[in-house]
Symmetry: C2
Subunit: 359 residues, 2 copies
């Protein structure tokens, strides 16, 4: 099991779990001046009311104080329609995943994932030393493999981590599908990661009081345009939340994010308008891809996977040279490139560049 031989002399021996992990280095850097269709962010930015609120409230004194979450929890609880005892604030969804894993997953515990999906489920499960099993999304449409997943759930399964809609496939399952998973996986923490909820509308939140094994996460990094600040919520029944809180650092969420979230949920119109724009742009994107004869997967989120065959990486690189950033996903789904859906204007620019590159 131990892998001492691989270590250069003088390096302290890490855990085997860490030694065996693949490094995760997302391609960032020099993105500011480009059309950023690579990280599923809000492509027009956070609400101006959030910026205004922050400019008013960031003072020498407030920035020097350890975070207090009482006001934010009250406002967010009211916004989501849940009791303040039924969720924790998290440093992005990543911390939600980490806290959930730390609370329930011991070394060698059985963890069920889907493939391909958001990389951080596997990351934290590996870090915890879990035994990971993966159920593939179903070809040809990369649809949610409900029956296969149900079959894979064992009494010993301790966690099932699902993004709904899923990244990078864009596909989703229904609330009824989620209920069947919750009914089968009775000994598991079932996470429904709703990072892209605003573009899809399906949520498991109303099931919270019916299933003590249900955990729902939301993020403010996507539709809300707060990726820089790192803010999310993890919901469950209060009996579980008590344990999640015990496994969480008391100050992991910064005050700026906590303040921004309060202002963000007050400006509902901004999000509604942005989501409407994205949904219109997604239709425009479909039409444009069809015109170019490029196959794609229908998506419930603010991104679309398209088929570039053996040209996935050259096309990504050529688009980057033209100032348009997209993500290669061909290592997960052969030939696939993922493009974030922004505004119609941004999608028109993307299609025009892609058209020139594609010929």
């Amino acid at each position: 099991m131990s892998s001492d031989l691989e270590l250069p002399p003088g390096v302290l021996q890490p855990r085997d779990a860490v030694l065996n992990m693949a490094p995760y280095s997302p391609p960032t850097g020099a993105r500011a001046d480009k059309l950023r269709l690579d990280f599923n962010e809000n492509t027009v930015g956070v609400s101006p009311k959030v910026v205004e609120y922050l400019r008013q409230h960031l003072t020498e004194a407030t920035l020097a104080m350890y975070p207090e979450y009482t006001d934010t929890k009250r406002d967010l609880g009211a916004f989501f329609g849940v009791d303040t005892d039924d969720f924790i604030l998290t440093n992005g969804t990543d911390e939600a995943i980490q806290v959930l894993i730390n609370t329930y997953i011991d070394d060698r515990a059985d963890v069920l994932l889907l493939r391909p999906s958001y990389a951080m489920y596997r990351f934290y499960a590996e870090l915890a030393g879990a035994t990971i099993r993966e159920v593939p999304y179903r070809p040809p449409k990369l649809s949610f493999p409900l029956e296969e997943l149900l079959e894979a759930i064992k009494p010993s399964t301790r966690a099932v981590l699902i993004a709904n809609p899923n990244n990078p496939t864009g596909t989703a399952t229904s609330r009824a599908g989620i209920e069947r998973i919750l009914e089968k996986a009775v000994n598991a923490a079932v996470l429904i990661d709703e990072a892209y909820f605003e573009f899809c509308g399906v949520t498991a939140l109303p099931l919270l009081q019916d299933y003590p094994n249900l955990f729902v996460s939301r993020t403010f990094s996507k539709a809300y345009g707060m990726a820089a600040m790192r803010f999310g919520c993890l919901f469950s029944q209060n009996g579980n939340v008590e344990f999640l809180s015990k496994a969480q650092s008391p100050y992991s969420v910064n005050s700026v994010a906590a303040m921004a979230a309060r202002a963000a949920v007050r400006d509902k119109t901004y999000i509604e308008k942005y989501v409407t724009e994205v949904l219109a742009a997604r239709e425009l994107l479909y039409v444009g891809l069809e015109t170019l004869g490029i196959p794609y997967y229908e998506s419930k989120a603010n991104f679309v996977l398209f088929q570039a065959g053996d040209r996935a990486i050259p096309i990504r690189d050529e688009l980057r040279r033209r100032g348009v950033l997209v993500r290669d996903r061909s290592y997960e789904i052969p030939g696939c490139v993922r493009v974030t859906v922004g505004t119609r204007e941004q999608i028109r620019r993307f299609l025009s560049e892609l058209g020139e590159v594609w010929r």
Copy 2:
């Protein structure tokens, strides 16, 4: 081992490690309008230049983008005089501790702590399922128990976590003492948490290239007045940093903190002036406590422990009623109350209130 019986029905069974952890709930809330001498923050606030910089750079677009750390790492590396491969940025010191534990501490691994010390060492070690041993600070002066610690280090020891200066004792060890620990604990990650470095001046950073088992953490939550934003650094040799990076979430540090840190290290004068003021105020505090006949422990940091006998909690409560916040530490050191050292003016107010309460 399992503790199912304690769980109410319908609550999902957490890991035993979590079940057995004591909850850590720091007393926050309603602090804004009080004299805050309870969290060792910068009591006058962050540098105005940091606030100005943030107000300029917080825009709709920057807040919507996932963090990029290149510029911050370059500036911080230059500031600390280390290569950018020799440290990671962390979401406060808490994440530094967590990443270190996640990288090196398996279930039941031997972890050595001092007692009393910063609560998060024990928190993350327990969460990892470590076997924790504690060496007590040495009475009567609560001095650093170097010989006892050296004796406790075993070949199987995987981590030694030390705050230098220590919280809440305020006592410290020398660089020579640290070297003796590093020479003995060859199989352990030795963390020197220098959260209060600026008030003390002793640092293990220059030893970094000599000891592959050395890890040094710094925070911007104390002298730098950035507690709200959560920002720290964890230093080690680049061979180790590679593994620390593998065990860290790629976006745990928010962009606002990363921006603020750049502005903070540029304003050296601000920190120097604040530290000078605190050191003068600490002398004033000593004199004031002596005048009142209250025993105290000499400190190398921006806080002082004093002996209130069986009145620790009533005195904290009465000070709170008068708008002055201090921390009770009598559960760790019988009779002790901890007071943060702010400016001389703030300490005069504290002493005046304490004088009335003490009679």
